[in-house]
């Protein structure tokens, strides 16, 4: 199976976010970058499929030069080769336009399967996978926990709300967006990193893909949300406090 995994490099989860002077983006000065966690699960799923059925796993990411670190990390975990879409204008692209860029790079590869993480830890749109599938004319399924290859295509397990699950069958080529936690992530090894040095990392300038930057929706500004309201302490005797609590839970929080 030829599997392409689209990966995003995002600011490290731990990072302190400060809004920059223009008010439209975060100050990237002290940021550390890491692979988007759901994409790590997508990569893991791809590697497991290759281990079971043979084939090739190609990782792909768009961004400036720093995304190559994340691509190398993916190669170290076992991907066969990497494609870096060298783009410096991602801030001027909306979710659809960014997906068009990625789809343009994926199309010539003609993969059997495209995997993406469910959503990114930074923007959190959760759209890239669904959009790429639509642009490439592939069937798709989202929130996938498990993937099995069958005669006819794929048999996958999908997460629904409130603890429900569902199986789906779809033909290949197809796209799946992978939910975190469906499999156990493998750790990066020294051997992996050393081997990664010899694997192919091809750079494709964004201009070569014929998808100019464009947006139908613009992120105008960023703001820090107001602090969560402090805890409401319910006082009085035990029966009084208990009654007050039940009232709050029923009518204010509406969880009872």
């Amino acid at each position: 199976m030829k599997i392409i995994v689209a990966i995003k490099q995002v600011p490290e989860r731990d990072a302190q976010m400060r809004i920059d002077t223009s008010g439209t983006w975060i100050d990237e000065a002290d940021l550390q970058w890491a692979m988007n966690e759901p994409d790590a699960y997508a990569l893991e799923q791809a590697l497991q499929l290759r281990e079971a059925h043979g084939g090739e796993v190609i990782v792909l990411s768009a961004g400036s030069e720093r995304v190559q670190t994340t691509l190398r990390e993916a190669l170290a975990k076992g991907a066969d080769r990497a494609i870096h879409i060298d783009a410096h204008d991602l801030a001027q692209r909306d979710s659809l336009n960014a997906a068009q860029l990625l789809a343009a790079a994926i199309k010539p590869e003609q993969p059997d399967l495209v995997l993406t993480g469910l959503q990114s830890d930074d923007m959190g749109y959760g759209q890239t996978g669904v959009l790429i599938a639509s642009l490439l004319g592939m069937p798709h399924a989202s929130l996938i926990l498990q993937v099995e290859k069958t005669e006819a295509g794929l048999h996958v397990k999908r997460e629904l709300e409130e603890g429900w699950l569902q199986h789906l069958d779809l033909p290949v080529p197809a796209l799946l967006t992978i939910q975190s936690g469906g499999s156990k992530l493998r750790y990066a090894t020294l051997m992996g990193i050393k081997r990664a040095k010899t694997k192919e990392l091809r750079i494709v300038p964004a201009d070569d893909l014929g998808v100019p930057a464009n947006q139908s929706v613009q992120l105008e500004g960023l703001a820090t949300p107001q602090k969560n309201t402090a805890v409401q302490l319910l006082t009085g005797s035990a029966p009084e406090a208990a009654a007050a609590l039940i009232g709050k839970l029923k009518f204010e929080a509406r969880v009872l």
Partner: protein, 631 residues
């Protein structure tokens, strides 16, 4: 009535035929000995060189040789009675050097120690004294091994070790018996041949038994790595640790063949003592069996037939094994080396282990918690931030920054430093020192953490570090050396001991038992400083296993972050040992010991002793001190 002669009886000179027989037998024995020894020497020499081996400074090696080999210091000190017995056997062998040479010379008609000369007589009495001591010792050791059967010598009692004990006994007794027979008699002749045969049978048996240590162990002690748990750096792009036979170095092979199977390592291993699969002696013997089986050119994994991955990962790296070994076997670099081989190549699959590695790949601490929590703690505790001007950098460590018990210790230590007027600051962007991943063998993550932290220290212009965690001390001071120049670092017990006189005393009269942390005691030789703090706070009692024999709390080797253990819990076992002293308080000096023992002591129920860190003991004496909650 037995007649004791004043001189040693020698037989009449032998006829030629007998001399030729002797020569033939001697040659046969020597050839057989060499034929069995040379393959072993070849295996050892064929192994790859140790890239970090330095012969100099020589004085350390010579000192070790004198103390460990010649004076048998560790042999005696750690197991006094059997150790002394062994020492006598060893010294007799040394004393008998000339005797044996002379004995063979006599067989060829060229004896050079004249039994009647005053020198000859003196020497023979000297040798006889040792022979007596040796005979008694070897008999005692035989009884111990075959009848008393201490369990760390193993279940299987080897017939050959009994046979060899018998031969040694025969050698000594035949020598002594020579004082009971007259010169030139048939009895003297018979004794001579008995002694000779014992010698000639003994020699070829050496290479294939544990008695090979007679030949190897002096060399092993001399050529040891020298520092406690000295983990060699990886050599080049294809070195991932001890994966297969090709990775075993000469020192590793030499040590594998030197094991005397005494079981001292096993006796003190916390894993073996809690019914786990790990047995340090078997690890070394497993390597020896591997070498005999596959050799040093083999690519068959070391963790397979002769050593199991499960056992190797049960090690808490407490070092009790390496500390005890009398022949210079260094277990820790071998165990950690095999772990490296598994982890660096991705063949170790462990859910919690992977979680630990992933947490440190992406984040800054081993607990997988957001770094913002560190900042919250620093702010809430009003800890000064290091700005390059203060004297000390107070290194928080993962436990000190995130764990409730660790935080309480840091808070109390900070109060002491404030009282003393010490200038210190904490770093906001500390990352885990990498201790757990270093001991588990993940060199990729360890290198990343070490380099990142060293850069931070250099940029922040840190001159001196003090910390509450012995694991941080060890890792920063020793393990980071491979990647840069760490600033000097000390443990808070060393700091407190030095400043003790400036602190007020509050002696509570309660009984306090101090639990020696592995990484402070065996790893760093710090035993008295924390005790001096305990002495000022209460009446110190000692656990049966204390100081260099302290029993691990179970957290080391990355185990604080791994899943449930098999067998009994090491922490529960240690807690029982500490409670058995009757102390009402247990004092610790390591946040990992603190967390492990807190849960273990809570499990003991209402009457369990209280648990405090020595920093909390010191802080108790400060004015305006409220009893900080220790658990």
């Amino acid at each position: 009535m037995v007649h004791l002669f004043t001189t040693l009886a020698e037989p009449l000179p032998f006829p030629l035929a007998e001399r030729l027989l002797f020569i033939a037998l001697a040659l046969a024995s020597a050839s057989l000995f060499l034929w069995r020894l040379l393959p072993i020497l070849k295996t050892i020499c064929r192994a790859k060189r140790d890239s970090d081996f330095k012969l100099f400074p020589l004085h350390r090696r010579v000192a070790d040789f004198i103390f460990e080999v010649a004076l048998q210091s560790r042999v005696i000190r750690q197991r006094p009675l059997p150790g002394l017995a062994h020492a006598f056997v060893f010294w007799s062998f040394c004393a008998f050097a000339l005797v044996t040479l002379n004995h063979c010379a006599v067989g060829l008609g060229a004896g050079f120690i004249l039994p009647n000369s005053w020198l000859g007589r003196a020497y023979s009495y000297f040798a006889a004294a040792f022979a007596l001591a040796c005979a008694v010792s070897i008999a005692g050791l035989f009884i111990r091994r075959f009848f008393v059967r201490p369990r760390w010598l193993g279940e299987h009692v080897s017939v050959e070790s009994g046979f060899i004990a018998l031969l040694i006994f025969v050698l000594m007794v035949t020598y002594l018996a020579d004082f009971l027979v007259a010169e030139g008699t048939a009895a003297a002749h018979g004794l001579w041949w008995l002694h000779t045969l014992a010698l000639l049978v003994f020699l070829p048996l050496l290479p294939r038994t544990k008695h090979l240590h007679l030949v190897l162990s002096p060399v092993t002690v001399f050529l040891s790595r020298g520092e406690f748990s000295k983990i060699p750096p990886l050599a080049g792009d294809e070195d991932f640790g001890l994966v297969a036979g090709v990775d075993l170095t000469r020192i590793a092979a030499l040590q594998a063949y030197s094991c005397v199977e005494c079981g001292r390592c096993t006796e003190h291993c916390p894993a073996t003592n809690t019914s786990k699969a790990l047995n340090p002696k078997e690890v070394i013997l497993g390597l020896r069996a591997y070498l005999n089986d596959a050799g040093t050119g083999s690519s068959e994994p070391l963790l397979g037939k002769h050593n199991s991955q499960e056992a190797i990962f049960e090690c808490t790296t407490c070092g009790a094994c390496e500390f005890q070994c009398p022949v210079g076997v260094e277990h820790l670099p071998l165990i950690i080396g095999m772990r490296r081989g598994a982890v660096n190549t991705g063949t170790w699959e462990d859910e919690r282990g992977a979680k630990l590695f992933l947490a440190l790949e992406r984040g800054s601490n081993a607990l997988g918690l957001p770094a913002a929590e560190r900042d919250k703690f620093i702010q809430k505790q009003n800890l000064p931030v290091f700005d390059g001007t203060q004297e000390y950098c107070l290194w928080l460590g993962c436990m000190g920054a995130y764990d409730p018990a660790g935080r309480a210790v840091v808070a109390d230590f900070a109060r002491v430093m404030n009282y003393l007027g010490t200038s210190y600051g904490v770093l906001r962007k500390e990352k885990c020192t990498g201790d757990p991943v270093r001991r588990l063998g993940n060199d990729l993550v360890f290198q990343q953490l070490a380099e990142s932290n060293l850069e931070l220290l250099a940029q922040s212009k840190v001159k001196k570090i003090v910390t509450i965690c012995p694991h941080c001390v060890r890792t920063i001071q020793e393990d980071w050396k491979e990647f840069g120049a760490p600033p000097p670092i000390e443990h808070h017990s060393e700091f407190l001991a030095r400043h003790m006189s400036e602190l007020p005393t509050t002696h509570s009269g309660e009984k306090i038992v101090f639990h020696d942390p592995c990484y402070l005691g065996r790893y760093r030789n710090v035993y008295d400083e924390p005790r001096s703090i305990v002495d000022r706070a209460g009446i110190r009692v000692e656990a049966e296993r204390s100081r260099e024999r302290s029993f691990c709390c179970g957290a080391g080797g990355g185990h604080a972050f791994l899943g449930e253990e098999s067998g009994d819990r090491i922490s529960d076992t240690r807690a029982e040992q500490l409670t058995a002293t009757g102390a009402s308080t247990v004092a610790v000096a390591c946040p990992f010991c603190h967390t492990m023992l807190r849960d273990a002591l809570t499990g003991q129920g209402g009457n369990a002793p209280a648990l405090v860190d020595i920093a909390q003991l010191a802080a108790r004496s400060l004015p305006n001190s409220t009893q900080s909650s220790s658990s």
